[in-house]
Symmetry: C2
Subunit: 357 residues, 2 copies
């Protein structure tokens, strides 16, 4: 048994090497992005994603090169002056920083690493965008869907933008309560890195058009209007990562065949057995204490001065834990729980953590 | 014999499928971009490229997702107000348009499709950047190296930025006469699409720093200073297309083994036999008439009302011509002449064009 639990780039979904072989065999790797064949791949990927994630028809799906790019494009296209961010880790903070680099009047509410937010936080009524990181990959904190959903009522004029980089396809978002989500494919979709997926509704499109009408810049080839103009033809503005989009379309087909409910149940089972062994363990514990904030998809173990030893113990039996993020590397390990990680791999992981003293 | 002469995405270099197989086998497709293994791949790709193309040490190599992105990042990082462009086709015009979308005071000199430029054109002394498309992929016009090189003298204060998307690795640029070049890998490097390569010197770095010191925006994660800060560690600012960078490093090794002079000679031989058959042909002719403007790497045939017939004739023997660009699709065919296209493929192409009446 070998497994790679790094939270991204992570283990490939087991079907991906075969899909890649077919892509090379059938010339997908040389396919022109203005051909009918490419349009079919684009359409299969976007329509498959809508079906898998339950995305309604007033949303559009566009391809970027990374979620980092989508942070930038979101601020460019959705904010004139005032973005607001919930920050509880390195990635949510970087989204906030991107706004400042773009010269915006960015504000944030910040809590300590490992924690979620109080629902009673007041978000100013005049912020144009509320940036929420559903799953903080650096610390394994996940925000509840109730938390995300309540902003439509408290801040009806703000666009609600959800970074779901390391949680999708697991969460079942209520798309009537959010305006945009995005993710990158090297996490929950088990694909090679190099593609970000950006889902936006018509309110986002209208905001970008409003900015343009005021003479504000919204970028160039990856502005929302230019994306949409091309997506209507099932095309991209530029020569994209064609292989990446093809592989995504194929994995989405596989996920649809398996069924999103089966994927969700398996995710919950695997998370439950890992949290259970960490809770009961003599020397390890979950880093995130509040149960409602414990991520199902990125599980962080507090390992203290045993970190290196448990890392090596797992490695000796083929199980590669992810390092803790940044300075937490010395005292934590992270375990991705994506569809690519099988029940058997998680059971082996849990067994060997249990045996560790 | 089968061959794909579309000018990009084009035919893969023959070693690429094997390199991809190894990448999937060895876990490159799940490799973290903050690991030592990734840093080695980054270093191998950038140092290999410098050796292959003869790029001096005062230049840096950064990775973007496409050449389209590099158009945008070039204007953002190198221009406050005034970019100047040489426009003689669809792609050089798009570079110009990107500047306008970014709110710059862009100017251009434009000639008809299929032509090069008069060296006596005066470029205003105060333009900050001169954008030159070395090889116009839409029309098969290549500008001479003498033309590119003379701006250092006439416009010493301007940054000279060369779009070499569909010509590298063939041309032997004089890097003391230019400040930046860029290309995308799905053309002359015979790789799957999804990666752009940006080469900049210290003058470009200084310009970006100057813009920042004036409080001007230069973008976020793909600004030149942020690129450099990461590249010093052989890393990228964001999770990149790791597989793409790995495959590039491997093809660069292959090109180095073959030798850049052998690649250049082969390119010239293949171009010569194709232009020769077009010149002598009863019904076809080269679209670009001026000999000094005829691209060696994208060769455009004027086919008139025979376009469909010759396309089908070639296709029937496994040779896929590239369509003419845009409205020229009805009357032209394009033939990429990249290192991936073998002498045997070109000889078969030339033979079957010769037999066509």
């Amino acid at each position: 048994m070998t497994a790679n639990f790094a939270p991204g780039p992570s283990q490939l979904y087991f079907t991906v090497p075969d899909h890649a072989r077919v892509a090379f065999r059938d010339g997908i790797t040389s396919l022109g992005h203005r051909t009918r064949e490419f349009e079919k791949i684009f359409q299969s990927a976007t329509e498959g994603l809508k079906e898998l994630l339950g995305v309604p028809s007033n949303f559009h799906i566009f391809f970027a090169s990374s979620a980092t790019e989508i942070w930038e494009r979101s601020i460019q296209n959705l904010v004139d002056e005032k973005p607001f961010h919930f920050v509880n880790g390195a990635f949510s903070n970087r989204f906030y920083e991107i706004g400042k680099l773009l010269g915006k009047n960015s504000t944030k509410v910040e809590v300590a690493f490992g924690h979620g937010f109080d629902e009673k936080v007041n978000v100013p009524a005049d912020v144009e965008m509320i940036g929420i990181t559903h799953n903080e990959t650096s610390t394994g904190v996940s925000l509840s869907l109730d938390f995300i959903n309540h902003f439509r009522k408290t801040n009806p004029n703000s666009l609600i933008v959800v970074d779901a980089v390391s949680s999708l396809p697991y969460p079942e978002f209520d798309y009537s309560k959010i305006d945009s989500i995005f993710f990158s494919v090297q996490k929950g979709f088990g694909l090679p890195a190099g593609l970000g997926v950006w889902v936006v509704n018509d309110r986002c499109m209208a905001k970008a058009e409003e900015l343009i009408s005021k003479g504000k810049g919204v970028g160039t080839y990856h502005s929302l209007p230019f994306y949409l103009q091309n997506a209507k033809k099932h095309q991209t503005p530029e020569t994209p990562n064609v292989l990446g989009i093809y592989l995504l379309s194929k994995v989405v087909e596989d996920f649809l065949r398996k069924g999103i409910q089966a994927i969700r149940k398996e995710t919950e089972y695997k998370a439950a057995i890992l949290y259970q062994v960490l809770e009961k363990h003599e020397v390890l514990s979950p880093f995130v204490i509040e149960k409602q904030s414990q991520s199902k998809t990125v599980i962080v173990a507090q390992c203290g001065d045993r970190t290196d030893r448990i890392y090596e113990h797992l490695k000796s039996i083929g199980l590669h834990a992810g390092d803790g993020y940044g300075v937490l590397k010395k005292i934590q390990l992270r375990f991705a729980n994506f569809p690519a990680h099988s029940k058997e791999q998680f059971e082996a992981l849990v067994d060997s953590i249990e045996r560790f003293r």
